[in-house]
């Protein structure tokens, strides 16, 4: 009943000695640090895949108000269903994460860092606080870091309080500022107007750990892994119907079929890629690649075995979104509730195909008109399940399931 380590393969991070990346970064100019990250083609590991170097460049160029501080925020809200790789990084590769934040701070000229840790992970606090204290003692945080005159940076930990939407970067900032976690309109973007109105870089835990690896081993090394548009290795959180669920590392570009083979999931009926906000891929499409140019994901892979009821899966995802929508905008608040109702009609075998088409139109509206990524992506699973498993979900009778 006690949690065990989730690691199922050795990770490249095992080969990166803590301190190596930061030492290399401090030998470079700020522009060259960003240049290295840009040249690596690293894209955000939190799901959206924004190029990290570009984000840092914008934040480096931005001017703080009244000469105020800039901020580096590590997004450790890890709330996407089926995602748990950041937990492994935070517990087992802690220094690489804090080191990545420190490198980011150096690059953009930030003096303060915040680790925004989901409330569910509060049990990690003693460990994380201990590592921060050790880093201060070692001169890796604080004033004149590792003897670099004028480079002052420290990290605070702030806890989330049980809201998935707070993983969205502007909601996260609202939460840090003491407000309800309701996403903001963008622009302005956090790189210009972030925490307390100051330029702020928000990066995922894995993105920051990858930065440490890239500075340690070089952009060319990283870019040689993966595909042209999706450079590098990536952690995957694998759960559901497979022989060995856990955290795996694969190069981006791996096919669904190849991944299933490694995790003991061959013969699956479907795989959800990207969590509740991702898409459901049927067996006929297992040749597709997991990469930003095909199936993009923050790393959540949920395997569904042959016996699974896909409507039940769609319903579970939709219940999640109804629960987690912040309720700020109508397409998302009302749309998710309407879709859940539709799923319940399908369950009862009481949904005409005309009404199903109406629901699919509603999905399109939600994707276009919702204010943030939650509402924009909440219909994805429903749409893909309805599309691929139509004969399974129409005309149900009570006895069938």
């Amino acid at each position: 009943m006690q949690p065990t380590s989730s690691k199922k393969t050795p990770l490249t991070f095992d080969t990166i000695a803590p301190g190596q990346g930061l030492a290399a970064a401090l030998k470079k100019s700020r522009a060259d640090i960003i240049g290295e990250v840009s040249a690596s083609n690293l894209r955000g590991r939190g799901g959206a895949g924004f190029p990290t170097g570009t984000k840092w460049n914008l934040a480096a160029a931005a001017q703080g108000q009244d000469g105020g501080a800039k901020y580096v925020v590590c997004n450790a809200d890890e709330g996407e269903p089926g995602t748990f790789k950041d937990r492994v990084l935070l517990l087992e590769y802690t220094d690489l994460v804090f080191e990545g934040m420190t490198i980011a701070a150096r690059a953009i000229g930030a003096t303060k860092g915040i680790l925004y840790l989901r409330g569910e992970y509060v049990y990690m606090r003693p460990h994380l606080d201990g590592v921060l204290a050790a880093r201060r003692t070692a001169g890796q945080l604080g004033a004149n870091i590792l003897g670099t005159t004028g480079f002052t940076f420290d990290i605070d930990i702030r806890m989330g309080a049980g809201a998935y939407v707070c993983g969205e970067e502007t909601a996260l900032i609202e939460s840090l500022e003491g407000h309800r976690g309701e996403p903001r309109n963008r622009p302005p973007f956090p790189v210009n107007t972030g925490f307390l109105g100051q330029p702020t870089v928000v990066n995922n835990v894995e993105t920051l750990a990858s930065v440490s690896a890239i500075l340690a081993k070089g952009a060319a090394w990283f870019r040689a892994i993966g595909t042209e548009k999706s450079a590098g290795f990536k952690l995957f959180s694998v759960s559901g119907d497979c022989g060995a669920p856990g955290v795996y590392e694969f190069p981006l570009g791996i096919t669904v079929a190849a991944l299933l083979e490694k995790v003991g999931g061959t013969g699956a009926k479907a795989v959800q890629i990207g969590g509740a906000s991702g898409v459901c891929v049927p067996a006929s499409e297992f040749g597709r690649r997991i990469a930003f140019e095909d199936l993009a994901t923050g790393g959540s892979i949920i395997v569904f075995g042959q016996g699974r009821d896909m409507l039940h899966v769609a319903k579970n995802f939709m219940e999640f979104f109804v629960e987690e929508s912040c309720g700020q905008c109508t397409p998302c608040r009302a749309g998710n509730a309407k879709l859940l109702e539709g799923i319940e009609m399908l369950e009862r075998g009481a949904c005409s195909s005309a009404y199903l088409r109406e629901l699919l139109n509603l999905c399109e509206t939600m994707q276009l008109a919702s204010k943030c990524g939650l509402g924009q992506s909440s219909p994805n699973a429903f749409v893909s399940i309805v599309t691929h498993f139509q004969d399974e979900i129409l005309g149900r009778t009570a006895a069938a399931h």
């Binding site: 269903p81 748990f84 049990y123 840090l176 003491g178 759960s239 559901g240 509740a276 569904f304």
Partner: protein
């Protein structure tokens, strides 16, 4: 609430505000500390917090009501949160849920009459490879089976007994 209790709470909130800062950005950390100590944030506490950080109490209420881990109503000393999301669902959370209700004699969303246990649903806890997963306060239990539920609850009862004994001891000392 007794005046002396109110005074004590007020002092405690002032101390928290001094530690976290008297700014709006300190609001959530202050509320989180209160939630841990009192298992809820009362109307009175919200008023004092509002004064300390210089905002209207309605704003504080707006924040408390937004976050699943902050409660304006008293909740149990032990908050049991069972993950209801897909991987734990596939792993058999329904039977664990049923057994939790059976053992505690309450439904999800309720607190036992003695104030010891609250039962709630949670969204994905980040333990999807080891489901069904649940949290008891800040402790994680994984691969929970229906059969193990009573042991988890017994563990809590023992802790509670120990705390009560300690508190009584402290009061007499």
């Amino acid at each position: 609430m007794l005046v002396s209790q109110q005074q004590k709470l007020q002092d405690e909130i002032r101390a928290l505000a001094a530690r976290h800062g008297r700014t709006r950005a300190a609001l959530v950390p202050i509320l989180q500390d209160l939630q841990v100590r009192y298992a809820s944030v009362s109307d009175f506490a919200m008023q004092v917090v509002a004064d300390e950080v210089g905002i209207h109490p309605a704003e504080v209420y707006g924040v408390v009501s937004f976050y699943a881990f902050l409660h304006s109503q008293p909740s149990g000393r032990f908050q049991i949160r069972l993950c209801q999301t897909i991987s734990c669902d596939l792993a058999g959370k329904a039977r664990v849920a049923r057994q939790l209700e059976n053992e505690l004699g309450i439904r999800f969303g309720e607190t036992t009459p003695d104030g010891r246990f609250s039962l709630e649903w949670a969204s994905c806890l980040g333990m999807c490879d080891q489901g069904p997963a649940l949290l008891v306060n800040d402790r994680v239990y994984t691969r929970v089976s229906a059969e193990q539920v009573h042991r988890i609850i017994d563990d809590c009862r023992k802790v509670f007994g120990a705390h009560a004994a300690q508190a009584a001891h402290a009061a007499h000392a």
